[in-house]
Symmetry: D2
Subunit: 349 residues, 4 copies
């Protein structure tokens, strides 16, 4: 029996959380209900949604998944050429100060004089949209209804503004540290990337999970791979190629399965919008059914308070068959932004 | 003997890195030399500098510091009112699309039609400088010499450009996962915040470390607290108050001690520039001595290839007396940016 | 009698309009009524207001005022340092392409290759507000009422948008060619510039006109000099000095006299807002009386459909005692802009 | 002899310039030489070039061309969709303040309170390139040589900067008031618009002038019509159609004929670049011959100091067969801009 005592001692020494790693237990969720998910359950002032589920214990549990310390960078590189939805504003990163400019202009005399080292600097000015490159949509991004409300019933007439929404902007997204799971649907299908307008079903997800031998747990960040970002290249400048695959994604039914049956706390993919975009053939039926041009956004962001991860680069994880990891993402802290953008979330294993 | 075998097995199972947690050992650094630091030792194409020291083992070791899973958000909230150095371009976050605007303009007819849910969206356009709010300076930020070179000898004539520096921009900063140490100098001095133009010496740092019972190890991210961000408020709009303390910082001698004696892999603080800014009384002497208006930047960024953390919010760590933690920071992935900006680094304990 | 015949022949040759120059007649106005002015008299779709009064004949008459061909540039030079109302967005003019950048980046290979002359180019990108430097306010600039309507009853709920107002934006301002009259109030008072919060009365205007021996005619562009722009310097960077005088201007009563008694078709001055801004002592009384923070804007732009000229540089005209001239101004043709800005109207004499 | 005396008296009364109208004489040019044009003849600090030729007399002469007072607006309307050269930065005009936003945000309490009229305002923020819509290129726009010099020998090493060129930026372009001549080449050819890559020869110009019965005079602003802007529509959004014709233009030989034989003071057209762009078939020969990708720009802007008018809308003039007129154009007064842009030049007849 000695070894049992010893094991207990070791477990005690390593702390409770190490125990949950060994046993595979996820700390209990606070508000999630099977068959229902979350919804507006966090109080009338809440701007955080399902990410309220994170606790010290859940984060520690996620960190304890790490075995090697290998980091996968899930961000893609952005510049003026990068693919984005055409309805967003374009972007430029422009040299604002350069050493030559500083020295020629002499507009900062007190800096440039008595400067034997001939020191100067580079800085850049950016004109940029907050829905570009690797993103996490804030809960204020999507609205619905004639009252234009978003998550938790915040209405445009009350909380709109000239400088971004004044409730549930992206600055309210807390640092995310959670168990992450990759579901490699492109891998399941044996294709480089899913075809245009491919509608990922919950069956697809379950088959992929079985193949991967991965289980979902309530509170997970679920990342679904279509393979689209295989074509990002350096800065996402091959718009036609990316667009070809970018329309693959999940339907509302699949989102519901992930949230209401599995307790997914956040859902993302390697496309610009996560969700299935109907083909021309399907367009009318789809529109009649969902009465929205982005029903998964309606469901997740508005109805459930669940953040959406977009353009997450999943090629490295897929290549190494890393299906379970610690997911960490910290959005820009900019008041009035509607999404975390040009992000660099990481998966650590 | 059974228990010894068992313990070995457990340790083996948990991996080498778990061992390093138990023993408190930091993995060896690859290129650092005592009394010298790093310098341009990483090969002529290198854009990463001392952060090349990070390995799976070092990251795992840093992650293993975490005991509770508590996260400290080191980012400050940015908006148009936020304090910044006046030489940088100003910023606006502007509602680009709003539900009312989308519906009134009808410029996206295919989206708005057959849209029974009356779905719409918010997005924002930003004009922003890449040296605002919580930052990590890229190695291309500072230049010196008549040839305007930066870290590793990259010269403006070769690697300058209209859209930001083309070598060692901020997108080349890898995800940072490392042991972080807070040195609370304001705490040592028993003040809310250090006075204007306070020159933090290596003695100050050593006294604070002794008081805190913290030891530095090679490869650390060292964060030095002046208390300045106590006055950030919501968005850093009290410029006079922030400016009053923002000039406190370290001297070149202190930076050298941290790098060459202690092996600090990155150094940051809660001010806009980390370094001591001389008072008027001291101005001429200082300029004659260092021949630069930002000698710590010259030393760290250009000469040593060490990134600088700026405007890191350290009040929470200080309050809880958390002096050792896992530091995680992922900069925006924007080509041509000279610093990671509006960041939200985290300290996990 | 021969000479009479000859004179008739010459006059005939020069056309009817030359005749109106000789006789000093102003062509009749179409819709102006004494004691009433204009108002919303131009039809429910009108976006032009009182400038509808311009005709070929009125323009020709104005052009015939010119005797020497001397041009006065009424625009002030704008850059990032220029004084503006703090509620407007800031501005930067940034080198977007430079010859060095073009050649270093080689991003336009087809241009730069086989380019023996080593040709390249400069272009700039601007972030700029549409209410800066020398301006003419569009009729969509000011709104009032809970329905937020502007000139002619255009309502925000119908004609607002994300990309500027969609009715009566500044692109609807036609080229303005009209008789211009300078009323030099600073000259009348014998001061460099009117004091802070000076309320220009219709008596002031009448005295100045008498002193100048100038008469107003229906259809005039009336420019009122406070002397404020004497302090613009190169780019308007002495904000304190400009602000000190910028609060001098006309009251609603004075505006009414100009419009309803004199038929002024457009009114401008050398300040940022034309109208009197109350001193602290006067603030409450003023607000109680007018129930608006810019009642002259309400009266002119919304109620009367009269454009307002702002920051018109009148120093040259005053110095040369040119009180009557041909005023020509052509606003930028930018959809969604709310004012013509950074303009260079001219007075020709 | 009496009538001669009388005529002299009348002429005296009307001024010298009226005399030049009667006789059709153009005032003498100051520096132009036949077979040579201008070049760098205006002194080493000059930033104005051939526009230095304008005098009170020349302006008065141009104004005296006006017979009816009819104005032709030569500007095209710009917005985010407008056709432009892809090497320029994109543009957005964004509602910065709206009445709803002002009232919801309450960020300007002192304005919004005690505001019984419920007054508010619209203003817009623009991100815009200075080479869009109707333009006049400044003399600092084009550079050549390894020293990257522009007009009058200004070199990048001396006069470059981060905020636009510091010599001969567009703010140095004086108000232009001059005799304008339309040469309707599309009209001559009997086509809606000249075909792609059509190279307009001096023969074409002479034939058109003969057909029109128009003569050129030294000091003219010459506007050449290709018909391209017939396809501008509201805001220039049919890029393919515009691009198809936009490559028609003049060659260096034609430019030389206009400048060196005819004394054209400024040359413009209804295309984005005035000059002929070679077809693929012609590309190599063309490049070998001119050693520049924009040789007409080199010749006019750099070598001759002659401003170029671009995207001037000439359809109205052509329709009415108005070939001689008073041309008036006033560029934006923005320091560091490289061209007057989104202009609204006018032709008055």
């Amino acid at each position: 029996m000695k070894w049992k005592i010893l094991l207990l001692a070791v477990v005690f020494f390593a702390g409770i959380s190490f125990g949950s790693l060994v046993t595979g237990q996820q700390p209990q969720l606070k508000k999630w209900q099977k068959d229902k998910g979350w919804g507006w359950v966090w109080g009338k002032d809440d701007e955080v949604g399902s990410l309220n589920e994170m606790t010290d214990a859940s984060r520690l549990s996620a960190l304890r998944i790490v075995e090697r310390g290998k980091v996968y960078d899930l961000g893609v590189l952005y510049d003026r050429t990068s693919y984005k939805w055409p309805g967003h504003s374009p972007g430029e990163i422009i040299s604002f100060r350069t050493p030559e400019g500083v020295k020629r202009q002499q507009d900062q005399k007190e800096l440039v004089n008595n400067n034997g080292s001939r020191t100067a600097w580079h800085s850049s000015a950016l004109f940029i949209n907050d829905n570009v490159a690797t993103q996490i949509d804030g809960l204020g991004h999507a609205t619905e209804g004639d009252d234009n409300h978003w998550y938790n019933g915040f209405k445009e007439a009350d909380w709109g503004g000239n400088w971004g929404p004044r409730k549930a902007d992206a600055s309210t997204i807390p640092p995310i540290v959670a168990r992450g799971v990759l579901i490699d649907v492109a891998g399941l299908k044996g294709v480089e990337a899913l075809p245009s307008n491919y509608n990922i079903s919950s069956d697809d997800l379950q088959q992929a999970l079985r193949k991967q031998k991965t289980e979902l747990r309530p509170g997970d960040v679920v990342l679904i791979r279509t393979g689209t970002l295989r074509y990002w290249g350096e800065t996402g400048s091959d718009h036609a190629k990316i667009a070809m695959h970018d329309s693959a994604g999940i339907s509302v039914e699949t989102a519901k399965w992930l949230v209401e049956q599995q307790g997914a706390m956040m859902i993302g993919s390697d496309t610009s919008g996560l969700e299935y975009n109907p083909s021309e053939a399907d367009f009318q039926t789809y529109r009649d059914k969902y009465r929205s041009f982005m029903p998964v956004h309606n469901y997740l962001l508005i109805n459930q308070g669940i953040h959406i991860g977009e353009f997450h680069f999943l090629e490295g994880l897929a290549r190494d068959q890393v299906y379970e990891f610690c997911y960490i993402a910290c959005t820009n802290k900019i008041k009035g932004s509607t999404a975390g953008f040009t992000l660099r979330p990481i998966a650590i294993r």
